[in-house]
């Protein structure tokens, strides 16, 4: 199942709608890395609110996604990790180290606004 990617201003928002297979996740990762260039996006939000399981592959793919988009010049923030999912991730030793997260879409947007503004003022 393909994840719709919406463009909003300088940001891309990928809103996961249902459980994803490994192939779907890899596709999302690659599509975002490509679209960051196409739309000259400065930020990416991946909304995982509906995901009821985040296993090692999903965590690793999201981490790769965040690092790939950063290398392309855009910041990524993962939003909507559910409390039970967070608990299971910690039990598994999956901490998403080096990846920014926020509570929900609203917080994710606020986070990106702050982060990309800082970069702009420096440049």
């Amino acid at each position: 199942m393909e994840v719709p990617i919406l463009k909003q201003g300088l940001y891309l928002i990928a809103s996961i709608q249902a459980a994803l297979s490994d192939v779907d996740l890899v596709h999302l990762r690659d599509a975002l890395a490509e679209k960051v260039g196409k739309f000259r996006a400065r930020g990416v939000i991946v909304d995982v609110t509906v995901l009821d399981v985040m296993d090692s592959f999903a965590s690793r793919t999201l981490r790769d996604l965040a690092h790939m988009t950063r290398l392309r010049g855009a910041e990524t923030v993962i939003v909507g990790i559910q409390p039970e999912v967070a608990f299971a991730m910690v039990q598994l030793g999956l901490t998403l180290e080096g990846v920014d997260t926020a509570l929900d879409l609203e917080e994710g947007l606020a986070f990106l606004d702050k982060k990309t503004k800082r970069h702009t003022s420096r440049g």
Binding site: A19, D52, V53, Q82, L92, G93
Partner: protein
Amino acid sequence: MASEAVIPINSDIDVVAARQKGRELATELGFVSTDSTLLATAISELARNIIRYAKYGEILIVSVQSGDRVGITVVARDKGPGITNISLAMQDGFSTSGGLGLGLPGVKRMMDEFHLVSDANNGTKVTIKKWKR
């Protein structure tokens, strides 16, 4: 009320099917949501190991009863190459090193019972159990 499901594991889509089946049964038995998530995540990891190391295998999900306790047993088995160094596979950091690990210590942590049998001739069989709280 014994309920049983066998899910053949041949592709990444089966990983999703297996964990959804596990969650379904857990919900049916009245597991708290946190425990259903732990069970589904553990099944996901075991199914993933089957695909990564053995290419195909199966996952058996059964409801169990012991006295007035209700639980779920999951058996993940394959005829793959087996785990040559079980103590290494059960070491914690091994699972996070370069993404090549089996995630087995994490699965063990999430479950109430964990049993692993593996050798080169018979493949790998992981049995896990979670009791309803």
